[in-house]
């Protein structure tokens, strides 16, 4: 089946099987391997991307369902000039990543949280990360990075 989809600002045209997931399309068809797969029960969130501006687990969306939509993956989050998104910067500053495997999903979820809650308290951040598993960091610095990013974006009026 054919899927027309905009990914990271580029219009793409892909041939997929009907059972293919959006995560398969991104990883296998488009070789955007920053979107990770860590489970098969929609629990880990390593596959989180933005679908029409909203964070979704790309392993929970059929590729064909994403036909005609606009997807942003971790590869498309930094500016065209390579300038990292404030969330990416905050993750690095706060040491919010160790092995890096959960990181793309965490960053995409963090960005989505600030879209809906520009100044979340830590309880809200922790709750919002319910769907993202990390085995390395104990979440401490991830929560901190999202908080730091929120403060910074609010200060800049982003």
């Amino acid at each position: 089946m054919r899927v027309h989809i905009k990914v990271n600002q580029v219009q793409r045209d892909c041939e997929v099987e009907s059972r293919a997931l959006l995560s398969d399309l991104l990883r296998d068809n488009l070789r955007l391997t920053g979107t990770h797969r860590g489970c098969d029960t929609a629990q880990c969130g390593a596959c989180t991307v933005h679908l029409d501006g909203v964070a979704v687990k790309s392993c929970q969306v059929l590729a064909v369902q994403a036909d005609g939509s606009d997807v942003v993956t971790i590869e498309g989050l930094a500016g065209a000039d390579g300038q990292l998104h404030p969330m990416q910067q905050a993750f690095s500053e706060c040491h919010a990543l160790q092995c890096g495997f959960c990181t793309p999903g965490m960053v995409m979820s963090g960005v989505d949280l600030l879209r809906t809650h520009p100044r979340p308290d830590t309880a809200t951040i922790r709750e919002a990360l319910e769907g993202n598993l990390c085995r390395c960091t104990g979440y401490v610095n991830i929560v901190e990075a999202i908080r730091v990013c929120a403060d910074r974006m609010a200060a800049k009026g982003v």
Binding site: R27, T33, G34, L84, Q98, T122, N132, G138
Partner: protein, 783 residues
């Protein structure tokens, strides 16, 4: 490149520069095994046993072979026919002078008898992963089910089903430490004896990146390449080449690219690593294997699974006289990897940071029809700590003493160091009493009664617990190489392997500081047996000590090798040159940086060429004598007796990691370890059905992984009590949290629950278990 580090700047030990690793991971450009692609790549999937214990009567793969896209189907009989060997344990107690045990050899594919759910029976390779999975369903295996045992008490019982004919009573091996007679005497003379029976729950590492592998084969020169999510590529090469494939090591290259967490579980190779290589040879195509999470949980080596009877003898003043333990440890169906390491450490660290005049401990390993266990972050130290710390708290309760006070009376004092334990350790350094007081202060011990009162006014149970521990950081020797290029860039070739621990940053920091080379011009290489001459990878919190000290030796040698070149450049005698303040200095205030000397060392002709070509040096460091990281963790919980929910209100960790190389990274290691320890204490358990051996907790829907809202804010503090037995002074940090947390959390839980009559609870303290325990205690109280 690091945005906050100037291109030319030196970074120092003790700084926290932005990690070198971060940029690629933050932009989705990491290269984990599943991200690699090769022309004509095909996919392999193993058929896993659905039975915990069964004889394989027959296997029919003919329909699977005919299925669309299928290239080959391999079985256990094929492995035998082709002369493939099995996976041996890394070591057994007899290799270290202990009594002889039963050594298994795990086949790549099982031909005759499956021994746990998830045992590998066949391997299907097809053009696509879906085709391979579809074809799995077409394999017909006729199993004759056998009775299974999954619990230690069942496996050790009289008349239990036998898993290995050569291991009567399902006993695999045992370790023993201490002095039995002296301990018996001490117990006889004791004013008080505290006894506990404890279960240390089986858990799964569950790195978020699953294990996966790609095998390639070249018929041109009969060589293999394995790309695998492993912590120790050289070790994997050795085992796969020598024991399994029976080829020369030069015929096998192992690459472990970016690896998404390991926690000990990825320390050694698995049957799938051999399958993809074998299938690559059979099909002539690169073969990739990526499991589902359920397959990971069923086949990754698990951790812990121990049942202990422990006793502590005390005198009338609350001084420990002796500790005695009898313990059983489950090895699962095979002895895999360094399974014997947790078996051993679970005994050796029981005396912990206390002055224990007599000790005797025995740990017996049993086979069960479950997935094998192996080292999991802490490997035996969390078990040992759990025994000792639960005993101390229980004893304090029985004696009517404050648990901190009982510890005060028994901690090894700094003036007693070096201190020899009855389990063969000599602690070189530490300030245990200081750590305790600091942790109490930091966790606001003073106002605890106030908080407790407030909670009880709300009908909530508040408890506080300490988890004090000591461990051994590092094991075995290893090698690091430093190599300059002709432009003055420096490459670190590492025998160790980071899969989250930040080696590329910390090791660059060290050499930048020592040699005065710009941090940004240091490159770190690991994880490829073709690029790194030798190594043993990373596990057992070994990298900071072994890596740093090996690098120190290599750096000193580089300095010495560069001296004659520097002397030539400064036109002075060699003896007039010194390396100080990160520069070669000669007479008359002349100075030359290391990078200039390195460039000169590459000049191809003229007088400089007489010094040879290039500037390179290696260092080796051995863990003997080992180092002893230690820490005091304090946890405060609030339990709602109506729901049984345990909430961690605060968690304080004071850790003596020796010299702190990078504070931010050290603290990150503590956070992650504590979260895993909290997971074990409150949420996690691999559950098998006791009768059938079916895996119940087989997915992330059923296995309680800690999530962001399960983990509290932590107060962490690093104590720098420099290690005396290595020149850099480092201890270790990788396992600290996982070791201290289960004891701290469970002591807090018990402290809270004693108020309602609950005396004992095993991990994980889930809401249901806590609630049930409260109800049982209520009924008991009424009767």
């Amino acid at each position: 490149m690091n945005p906050n580090v100037q291109k030319s700047s030196v970074v120092h030990i003790g700084d926290s520069p932005r990690r070198v690793e971060d940029h690629k991971f933050l932009t989705g450009r990491g290269q984990y095994v599943d991200d690699l692609d090769f022309p004509s790549l095909v996919y392999g999937v193993p058929l896993l046993s659905p039975h915990a214990h069964a004889r394989i009567v027959s296997i029919d793969v003919s329909r699977a072979r005919q299925a669309p896209g299928v290239l080959c189907v391999l079985t256990g009989q094929d492995a035998i026919d082709e002369g493939l060997g099995g996976f041996p344990p890394l070591f057994m107690p007899e290799d270290m002078g202990g009594p002889k045990g039963y050594r298994t050899s795990r086949p790549v594919l099982v031909a005759d008898r499956v021994r746990h759910v998830g045992d590998r029976v066949a391997f299907v390779v097809a053009e696509t992963a879906d085709q391979a999975r579809d074809a799995l369903d077409l394999i017909e295996v006729d199993y004759e089910p056998l009775p299974a045992v999954v619990e230690l008490s069942d496996a050790s019982a009289e008349g239990a089903p036998q898993i290995w004919e050569g291991a009567p009573g399902n006993r695999c091996c045992m370790v023993m430490f201490g002095n039995e007679a002296a301990t018996t005497d001490a117990f006889a003379a004791a004013a008080h004896v505290t006894k506990l029976e404890l279960l240390n729950n089986r858990v799964s590492a569950n790195s978020i990146e699953p294990r996966c592998a790609i095998g390639r084969y070249s018929g041109v020169d009969d060589t293999y390449i394995l790309y695998s999510s492993l912590q120790n590529p050289h070790g994997a090469r050795q085992m796969l080449a020598q024991a399994v494939l029976k080829v020369e090591e030069i015929q096998l290259r192992v690459v472990s690219p970016d690896v998404g967490g390991g926690f000990g579980m990825k320390a050694d190779p698995y049957p799938e690593d051999a399958m993809v290589l074998w299938a690559a040879r059979r099909t002539g195509r690169p073969v990739k294997w990526v499991p589902t999470r359920s397959e990971s949980i069923a086949t990754d080596n698990h951790g812990r699974d121990q049942k202990v009877n422990a006793e502590m003898a005390l005198d009338a003043e609350g001084r420990i006289l002796a500790i005695r333990m009898r313990s059983m440890h489950s090895f699962g169906a095979y002895v895999m990897s360094a399974a014997v390491a947790p078996l051993t450490f679970a005994v050796r660290f029981v005396p912990s940071v206390y002055n224990v005049p007599s000790f005797h401990g025995v740990n017996v390993a049993f086979f069960t029809n479950t997935c094998p266990t192996g080292p999991y972050r802490g490997a035996g130290r969390p078990e040992a700590t759990y025994v000792c710390e639960r005993l101390i708290d229980q004893a304090a309760h029985e004696l009517g003493l404050n648990p901190a006070e009982l510890r005060r009376r028994n901690l090894i004092r700094p003036d007693q160091l070096p201190y020899s334990t009855h389990t063969g350790f000599v602690y070189d350094s530490g300030n245990f009493p200081g750590l305790l007081e600091k942790a109490l202060r930091l966790s606001d011990e003073e106002s605890y009664p106030l908080r407790k009162g407030e909670s009880s006014n709300k009908g909530l149970l508040r408890g506080r617990g300490i988890g004090f521990f000591i461990e051994q950081g590092g094991i075995f020797n290893d090698k690091m190489t430093l190599r300059f290029d002709a432009s003055g860039g420096l490459t670190i070739l590492s025998g160790l392997h980071s899969h989250g621990q930040s080696h590329a940053t910390v090791f660059a920091q060290l050499v930048s500081d020592w040699l005065g080379v710009p941090f940004a011009s240091v490159k770190y290489l690991q994880g490829d047996t073709d690029k790194i001459s030798f190594g043993r990878g990373t596990y057992a919190a070994r990298s900071s000590m072994i890596g740093s000290n090996a690098l120190r030796i290599a750096a000193d040698e580089l300095i010495a090798k560069g001296k004659p070149i520097a002397a030539f450049l400064m036109n002075c005698p060699k003896d007039a040159v010194e390396f100080k303040d990160r520069l070669y200095s000669g007479p008359g205030g002349k100075q030359i940086p290391m990078t200039e000397v390195a460039k000169a060392a590459h000049i191809k002709a003229g007088p400089l060429a007489s010094f040879g070509v290039g500037l390179e040096a290696s260092g080796v460091w051995n863990t003997d004598p080992p180092n002893f990281p230690n820490g005091c963790h304090v946890c405060e919980v609030v339990i709602d007796p109506e729901t049984g929910v345990v909430e961690i209100e605060s968690y304080t960790a004071v850790d003596d990691v020796g010299r702190v190389l990078n504070p931010q990274i050290c603290e990150g290691q503590v956070h992650g370890g504590v979260a895993q320890g909290i997971g074990q204490a409150l949420l996690e358990q691999v559950v098998y059905d006791r009768e059938t051996g079916q895996l119940i907790s087989g997915s992330f829907m059923d296995y309680g992984m800690p999530r962001a809202d399960d983990i509290p804010v932590m107060k962490t503090q690093l104590e720098e009590v420099t290690c005396k037995t290595n020149p850099v002074g480092v201890k270790a940090v990788g396992e600290a949290g996982t070791i201290g947390a289960p004891a701290a959390v469970m002591n807090a839980v018990h402290d809270a629950l004693r108020a309602v009559g609950v005396t004992h609870l095993d991990m994980p303290a889930t809401p249901l278990r806590v609630w049930n325990a409260i109800q049982v205690a209520k009924v008991r109280g009424q009767s």
